[in-house]
């Protein structure tokens, strides 16, 4: 159905998912998914639980068969291949280490099954791999005798030793505590750069995805909402879901009035708000005008008038939360809507107090426009709650 399939289009070992659908009974877990992951990428599939990201991963691994569509690896159709015939390996959620085998035997498992290497070579390779994940001295231990972080690294070594074309990671850091997770994020990134294998990383943690991946695909209800570099996704969300799920957003109802130079002019709460054409979708009529809370600067009414700033007047501070590095304000507008503003605690000026009258100001290039037909709350609870 897709003409350029066949892998002639230069994407040497790219992974291509073409129109893949997976149904469980009446439930559509993945809906006509199209995706191309370039060779050597660190690719994150980000979404809340139940969005279809793990199902997608399992179909690539061969643990689940697509109801429709094809999966190609380097141009070869692997859709119907058994899991043990694919050059793809998985780091499972909670690792799935074989409890009856030593660390060494766990790591050697894949190479032994393939039977392509001699005993001596196997030994060397296992040694090298344990060195890469810094577990040489634990070779003879059983998995149950290791800490969570160590088990995680065994799982990684067990998969990587096979030099797969694609490495799949299913919430690999989900079982680790926060501090260890930070350390492992950097560690995984380093290893990926070292070995140069394509990593596909499934996670529900937006911060983890942004820290590690060079490309993120945000999934929701079986489809990809938006795909791109972390900065692009965060700065230029194209749907209310992405705007809310990835960080937080102020979304205010507005109308596109005109286009002027490289800017759209919109009317929001009776004032004109400008949005850069670079960052916004070309929309007409009713829109959601969005701005990230940390891009908003609070000013006393009328203070610091600058032409290039968007300004919403008539706000009153309704809540102040001090969170260490920053202070988070809730500002109630005349319309009754509450907007957020996060300010770094630089100490340059006295913080506002509840009841202070304030204006909200931000740059045109930090404004984004979204289709007003989308649900303004989409993804908000998910992004926050998990």
């Amino acid at each position: 159905m897709v003409e350029q399939a066949g892998g002639l289009s230069g994407g040497g070992a790219d992974l291509q998912i073409q129109g893949v659908t997976k149904r469980f009974g009446d439930f559509v877990a993945v809906d006509d998914l199209h995706l191309q992951v370039p060779e050597g990428a660190f690719f994150a599939l980000l979404g809340a639980s139940g969005c279809g990201k793990t199902t997608t991963l399992r179909m690539v691994a061969g643990l689940e068969r697509p109801t429709a569509g094809r999966i190609l690896l380097g141009g070869d159709d692997i859709t119907d291949l058994k899991p043990y015939r694919r050059p793809v390996n998985t780091v499972f959620q909670s690792y799935a280490l074989f409890p009856h085998l030593s660390v060494e035997d766990n790591v050697a498992f894949g190479l032994r099954r393939q039977g392509k290497v001699s005993k001596g070579e196997l030994r060397t390779k296992v040694g090298e791999m344990l060195e890469l994940v810094e577990l040489q001295q634990y070779a003879a231990r059983r998995p149950a005798q290791l800490s969570g972080g160590q088990q995680q690294r065994v799982a990684l070594a067990r998969a990587l030793i096979n030099r797969p074309r694609v490495l799949l990671l299913d919430e690999p850091l989900g079982a680790l505590d926060l501090k260890l997770r930070r350390a492992m994020q950097l560690e995984l990134k380093r290893i990926q750069t070292d070995v140069g294998i394509t990593f596909i990383h499934v996670t529900h943690d937006q911060e983890e995805a942004m820290t590690m991946a060079d490309t993120i695909a945000v999934m929701n209800a079986g489809v990809i909402e938006q795909m791109g570099a972390p900065e692009e996704l965060y700065g230029h969300p194209r749907s209310t879901f992405v705007a809310n799920f990835l960080g937080q957003s102020n979304l205010i109802s507005g109308v596109v009035k005109s286009k002027q130079g490289d800017e759209f002019l919109t009317e929001v709460l009776g004032t004109t708000v400008r949005a850069s054409k670079v960052t916004s979708r070309d929309l007409e009529g009713d829109v959601w005008v969005g701005v990230r809370p940390e891009k908003v600067i609070l000013q006393r009414p009328g203070e610091g008038r600058q032409e290039e700033l968007n300004r919403l007047s008539g706000g009153r501070v309704s809540d102040v939360s001090f969170v260490g590095v920053s202070t988070q304000y809730l500002v109630r507008m005349a319309s009754g809507q509450e907007l957020m503003a996060f300010e770094q605690n630089t100490g340059e000026r006295r913080p506002f107090a509840v009841g202070d009258d304030v204006d909200l100001t931000w740059l045109a290039e930090h404004t984004f426009l979204l289709d007003a037909r989308q649900d303004v709350r989409a993804g908000a609870e998910l992004g926050d709650g998990e």
Partner: protein, 304 residues
């Protein structure tokens, strides 16, 4: 900011479709082939015998092993058996019921102590609970014959107590039979109770205390309902074998403490097939009916 404030539990993001994972359940003929031999064995040597038992209970009562039995649909066997052995039936169920209640009263505190108080002694205490299984049922019951004997230290100690008559006898009394039944089936009560109490979250009891429940109220309203599956399983595992047992009444009782198992066994040994079968069928039906009512009323149908 929000990302900093969340710490996912060990299960983190639930895998999308772990529950309906079809990868672990294979279709095809293999499943049937694996089931076949065991199923055939159970059909031939459990189900077919049960059917045979029912039909044997309707044979002409005048038959014998030597002359052979003839199928006459003689329902009267049941009425005859009931009139002759009805009181034994009642006695069996009373003994079994008493032993079950005794097991519950003894077993609950023990299971509670193991599950919630034993700490590092837990495994040792569990081994002690199953230790009786390590040696012969009959030998253990014979030990009670010694322990409850007329001149044993148990009886002497009891006789020394005030209010206990000096000519107290234990052996060859209903008390001895019930003591034996209680003893023999107590582990079957303790183990399921332990299994459900072990899963009990102590914080729930603390929450009840925090919400103004006295220790007894917390026990009644939180601990007992949560231990209900264990209580149901334990009472069934105790009552069913106790009702059909005849070893305890034979070794520890007297002719007036006979249980229905004694009669069924003796009648079969004497080849009085129709009456014996009728009694056996009645025992089975009575137990199945009791269990069904009991399980329904305690609201734990998922056990069976």
């Amino acid at each position: 900011m929000s990302a900093l404030s969340h710490v996912p539990g060990p299960t983190g993001g639930t895998p999308d479709v772990q529950a309906t994972d079809p990868g672990t359940e294979r279709r095809g003929i293999t499943g049937y082939l694996l089931m076949l031999p065991g199923t055939v064995w159970l059909l031939l040597f459990f189900l077919v015998p049960l059917v045979t038992l029912v039909s044997s209970s309707l044979y002409d009562p005048s038959g014998s092993l030597a002359t052979g039995y003839s199928m006459t649909g003689h329902v009267q066997n049941y009425a005859d058996a009931l009139s002759e052995y009805g009181s034994t039936f009642v006695r069996s169920f009373l003994y079994a019921l008493t032993a079950t209640i005794a097991c519950l009263l003894l077993g609950f505190p023990l299971a509670y102590a193991i599950a919630l108080k034993a700490g590092r002694w837990r495994n040792l205490m569990l081994v002690a609970v199953i230790a009786p299984f390590f040696t012969s049922f009959l030998l253990r019951t014979l030990s009670w014959k010694l322990l409850l004997g007329d001149d044993s230290w148990v009886v002497n100690a009891l006789q020394a107590l005030p209010l206990v008559p000096d000519d107290l006898r234990l052996l060859a009394t209903p008390a001895a039979v019930i003591t034996g039944l209680t003893y023999n089936f107590l582990p079957f009560m303790v183990l399921p109770l332990y299994a459900s109490l072990e899963r009990l979250d102590v914080r729930l009891v603390e929450a009840a205390a925090d919400l103004y429940a006295s220790p007894f109220t917390a026990f009644r309203l939180v601990t007992v309902p949560l231990a209900m599956p264990g209580i149901v399983a334990g009472t069934l595992l105790t009552f069913i074998p106790a009702a059909g047992d005849f070893i305890n009444s034979e070794l520890l009782g007297n002719p007036r403490t006979r249980m229905i198992g004694n009669d069924i066994n003796d009648l079969f040994q004497a080849s009085v097939l129709p009456t014996a079968s009728a009694l056996s069928v009645m025992l089975m039906v009575a137990i199945v009916a009791l269990v069904a009512v009991y399980v329904r009323r305690s609201g734990t149908d998922e056990l069976v």
